[in-house]
Assembly symmetry: C2
């Protein structure tokens, strides 16, 4: 919430709003956008994040058996955590009375000291941090990370984005959209190296149209640092948690991610792990799903598995892109592919968002849809429909509201059989 | 396309754009909206519709075995139609050469006379028209229908909308959003009489906030016509097609809708019927689905059924509302209901669209989701996800991208079991 997807998407949404204003003549309006300061946008972002955080604190406070201890934790042994600068989080208050009123033990009132927390069972959810590159330590000034961008008070003139993954693309999109001269450098041969090549090419084209210089197969990015006001390093995330996992005997892999199984258990009985630090998906929603599984297994003693068989992904390029596949996608033979451009969508026309396409992979033998790729407005919402379609294994015209952009999923599916009636004949 | 959902949604999208400009300070912008003329918005709408229509004409022209004859058709017998003012539609052209170039027989070149078209098999897709009320014939001036609204050159000062169904609500939303003083009158005790009462109440509240006077259980609407500049009658649609169906012996019900079965057959062999004129759903996407079924059955001689078991609905109120149920929803006993307000959605916060909620009905015995109701931004896209979820019979956190509004579907589902972690504890 504080430095991940929510604030990034706020800035993306601000960019979208700016562009809607600038394109409002398409609806017959004339609107003038006054000069704006990036600090004002960041201030509004901070206000939104504060409000959402307050909401979360209220939710936690509404459960009488949840106590929040805020501070820097590390293991002493497998049942004990030392929390430095410990304080109890109480929404909008720090008085002892509020703690008691909120149903918290008086012993837990805010204070700034070291506290030991003892527990029978522990769930680790410590996330990840931006990875630094040797010799280019983050200094918050010239060499910055994704969290620093979210707190910039003014826009730099130029930024070199090192790393062409989802975070790099989102940062390049927002910064260049607000007028920064951006170069994005990726070591592999395409942006989003593990994504479909057509989607990656479309993202690259759109970044270039927005004025971004895109360098791929680029191994010398960090030799160009002199040419840019700031260097944004987004080459990955590290599970460096400061938790002293070894004190509890918790096993990690060679990158430092906590090893786990489908029950979200670690190698140490009664210690569970979820989210980024387990190194599986690095996504908020799989983390949350794992969280529910870990809680059920830890508290009720069940053996529930984390079902992560169909997990959508999205990146907030402009327009956004998203994809989802069945888990065993790579095992299928005899695939057919269909494609539908949003230029052929009535809804895309009236939303004035005609860029992009939907691509669908189907199993020729069973006609089952196996994967969807979307680039276009609202791809990030539509991918939920695609995920649900893959779960059901079928898709029908009658279940797609018209006029919606989501109809594109059905049209792409039909196109795989040469049956799409919304585009010209292929014969 | 010409006078249905697409132009209506264009005006709705224009309203949305106007409001985004007016609320852009939420992102730190300052934008000034100059005075605008409704005629300019209508002109942009017409341009969009023309472009989409040209696209459709190109699609038809791309199939060498499709000939389009434009005109007013009526049956002579079960294999023969008389087309008055017949002309062949060729995109952007009316010369005989173009017709030949487009692969059409020279005999079919544009002309303004009566033509007989003979066919072995016929699919009727003649749609419906706005129903008139006795004594209040549409005159295009004081007494108008929904098609007239789409061509207004200037906004009236006041409008009485007679009929509180989907069309009435959409018209009231757009007109009042652009500054017209609107009263909407519904005979039944709520707007959208067959929709969930909570959704209807939320739509009513939002219309009232936008300045609309809402009258329900209103039986004397047409006695108030003197108080309004225009009376918009949207009490229903009639299948009055002018097709002379009786000449072919085609059976209709007492309202005039063509009777049909699940194979889209009429009572007359080799004559099929789809869409509004069959009086089933009056929706574009079920019509299109029926169209594919009728074509397959007519041309290939198959016996395919129109699967309309899960059909989403939406209405473009502000924010929009939508719903979808499993077909046998009414037969279930032991339902549990869950609800999730968008005020608790992070994505709704950053999109600055916090109004509305998702409601979900589940089968207590099997935990199967059975119905979703959504009111809120992008309800019209999210309802596709809900429909696909009902098809699959399950829903999981890991398949809902974060941050998306669609996560609200999962949260409402969890709430039905008292397990939603995104809202405060109910205990």
């Amino acid at each position: 919430l504080n430095c991940g997807c929510i604030p990034t998407k706020f800035l993306w949404q601000a960019l979208k709003t700016k562009q809607k204003i600038q394109k409002s003549s398409d609806y017959g309006f004339k609107a003038t956008l006054e000069p704006f300061s990036f600090a004002d946008i960041i201030a509004k972002k901070d206000k939104s994040i504060t409000n959402i955080r307050k909401g979360m604190e209220l939710i936690l406070a509404s459960y009488e058996n949840i106590t929040v201890v805020k501070g820097a934790a590390s293991f002493k042994d497998k049942n004990t955590l030392i929390v430095k600068s410990a304080s109890v989080v109480i929404p909008e208050s720090s008085s002892p009375e509020s703690a008691v009123n909120a149903g918290l033990p008086r012993d837990f009132v805010p204070r700034n000291d070291e506290k030991q927390v003892v527990a029978d069972k522990i769930i680790i959810a410590a996330g990840t941090k931006p990875s630094a590159v040797k010799g280019f330590d983050f200094d918050g000034a010239k060499i910055i990370n994704s969290t620093d961008v979210l707190n910039l008070k003014e826009l730099p003139e130029s930024v070199l984005v090192v790393g062409g993954g989802a975070i790099g693309i989102e940062m390049a999109t927002v910064l260049s959209g607000f007028g920064v001269k951006v170069t994005i450098a990726e070591y592999e041969k395409q942006l989003l190296p593990s994504e479909d090549a057509e989607i990656s090419a479309e993202i690259t084209k759109n970044l270039q149209r927005q004025g971004v210089e895109v360098l791929t197969s680029c191994s010398n990015a960090l030799e160009m640092t002199d040419k840019f006001e700031k260097i944004l390093i987004v080459t990955g995330r590290t599970p460096d948690s400061g938790l002293n996992l070894e004190k509890a005997g918790i096993a990690v892999d060679k990158k430092g991610f906590v090893t786990t199984n489908e029950f979200c258990e670690t190698n140490v009985k009664n210690i569970y792990v979820i989210g980024d630090i387990a190194g599986k998906y690095l996504l908020a929603y799989t983390a949350q799903n794992d969280g529910a599984v870990a809680a059920e297994n830890a508290v009720l003693g069940n053996k529930v598995k984390a079902d992560n068989s169909i997990v959508p992904m999205a990146v907030f390029s402009n327009p956004p892109a998203a994809s989802v596949k069945v888990k065993d996608f790579a095992d299928y033979e005899g695939l057919a592919f269909g494609k539908f451009p949003f230029t052929a969508s009535g809804r895309a026309f009236i939303e004035n968002e005609r860029a992009g396409f939907v691509k669908c992979a189907v199993d020729k033998n069973t006609a089952k849809p196996l994967a969807f790729w979307i680039i276009g407005a609202h791809a990030d919402e539509m991918i939920n429909t695609a995920a649900a379609v893959l779960k059901s294994g079928c898709i029908g015209r009658e279940s797609m509201f018209h006029p919606s952009l989501g109809e594109g999923l059905f049209n792409a599916y039909e196109d795989a059989f040469g049956k799409c009636t919304e585009t010209t004949s292929k014969k």
